[in-house]
Chain length 320, copies 2
């Protein structure tokens, strides 16, 4: 599989394109977490991003790149949540309709948020095949333009802008940690590390239960989604043929973590940093905490991917 | 009861005194909450303060004002939580012992945090009389210097610095909203509004269940604590003879809110702003939401007092 690399200029253009619609999110630090990890950790708080997650970046860049004449029938996509909100938000900004295929298990807050942007939600079985089939049907029936949640060059360019902002604020970072699901954020982060960092290594955190990205690197071919459950519901999908080759080439390692490690890291962030993050966002910190020996005294950037949690339900780290 | 007013210079000196030990906390905004309230709301995020609450300011200012020769035996206080942590933190900074009287019902996270600063915790019955008696005993037995949680001029000056920072960042604010318990934050905020604001009105939010501050204004005398339960566990105490006269003179209104209104406002902040705030911190926003007609199109500063919540227990807004 040959890798297509968006250029430095492509990412800069993407950033300019989306800037009017996104927040320049803050970078947070925490003395206690620095002490625990023995590192200087800089958290890029994309939970404070529009729609509550970094996915606003990729969705907007893709939607804003579509020629006007192809936009009339609106946008469609499939997503367990945050990309769904991103496309619904982008469609609202562009004043076109949006049709969003979501798994029947998607969290209620995310479904409500998608509808609040005026999008139509179509439910499907909670597996990748069902999602893809349903979105094809929706595409055919509505004529809406399909924006893939991660396997899309414009989406990758958009996600890259989070690490670009982080590296522009903290040019001395030595490592970047992000979660990996479909690989949009990870491949974009690899590109920004290459173009905007000084010898920056990129690591991904992945739940052991859905370790298909780790498997993919081992086997040198895209492994299918495991289908296992995980509390990190944003990370259940497999890599794509656009994200995988970049990741294979650029990533320094994929570190898998147990569900309990994700729970603990999530609680640590809520308790000590006083911010609401979703389970997927705790995965990179969990990976760092489980491997502090490998990263002693490093300056590390972590992208907090999002903060969309169903607060009415028990939280993953609460005693039930 | 005559009012003693710390001067503008006193508050400036307090601010300089504590600056090396505190965070200059960010000011956050939220488009959805602006839409809901019809106002421009600026949240001073003291949940990101050292010890997770504004109380670090007053505790530090008081501790740092004590003459060195009186400090040898350490510090003591009584508090349901955040002032306890503030004094424990201040004692650690000054390298002296701390003895903290806490009600037996105090939340576990706060107790653990107090101990983590190296302080000794002494439990008492959960009422104001028991607290005061116990702290007198501790003072006598240990010789530690007592710092009252709110009825103390240096504490009031320290709490005033939160509004001072907010007004220096947003000089056009027309109103400030804070919670009221013992009145340290409220009286301090009144002083900063007077000295550093341009015709700024100050309102307090208070739980209906513990409406002694509201009663005090009505009756023109300090009403005792009601003793009723409230989820806003930081606001159960009554005003003091130093805080009350300033509040009586300066406050534009005390707005009481129901427990359900506090729950909803708390959930709104967690869900939309992605920050962890404690129930007491949601009281001013609840008061604004219940009275939007009175404050249409105003520029409002709200001090988010703290973020110390026991995350292992069910949250106040969760279905149990």
């Amino acid at each position: 599989m040959s890798a297509y690399y968006p250029s430095r200029q492509d990412i800069e253009t993407a950033h300019e394109r989306i800037l009017p619609y996104i927040h320049r999110t803050p970078v947070l630090t925490n003395a206690y977490i620095n002490q625990l990890t023995g590192c200087e950790v800089y958290f890029k708080a994309e939970n404070f991003q529009k729609i509550g997650a970094f996915k606003a970046r990729g969705g907007l860049n893709a939607a804003l790149s579509i020629p006007k004449e192809k936009l009339g029938k609106g946008l469609c996509t499939h997503s367990s949540g945050n990309h769904a909100q991103a496309i619904a938000y982008a469609a609202k900004m562009l004043q076109v309709p949006a049709f969003i295929v979501m798994p029947s298990t998607a969290n209620k807050v995310k479904v409500a948020a998608v509808r609040a942007y005026g999008a139509e939600v179509i439910f499907c079985e909670p597996n990748q095949k069902a999602r893809e089939e349903m979105v094809q049907r929706v595409e055919k029936e509505t004529g809406a333009y399909f924006i893939h949640p991660y396997n899309d060059i414009q989406v990758i360019e958009g996600q890259a802008t989070a690490a670009k902002e982080l590296l522009s604020a903290y040019p001395d970072l030595e490592l970047l940690f992000v979660p990996v699901g479909g690989g949009g954020l990870l491949s974009g982060t690899c590109l920004s590390a290459k173009y905007f960092g000084k010898d920056v290594k990129v690591y991904a955190g992945e739940p052991e239960a859905v370790n298909d990205a780790w498997q993919s690197i081992q086997q040198d071919t895209i492994a299918p989604a495991t289908g296992n459950p995980t509390i990190a519901d944003g990370l259940t999908v497999s890599l794509g043929n656009l994200t995988y080759p970049i990741i294979k080439q650029e990533v320094s390692g994929i570190l898998t973590v147990k569900e309990d490690e994700i729970r603990s890291a999530m609680k640590l962030v809520w308790e000590r940093m006083k911010i609401v993050i979703e389970p997927s966002s705790a995965v990179p910190l969990a990976a760092l905490l489980a491997n502090t020996d490998l990263f002693r005294a490093k300056k590390i950037g972590i992208i907090i991917s999002g903060g969309n949690v169903d607060l009415a339900a028990p939280l993953p780290f609460q005693a039930v």
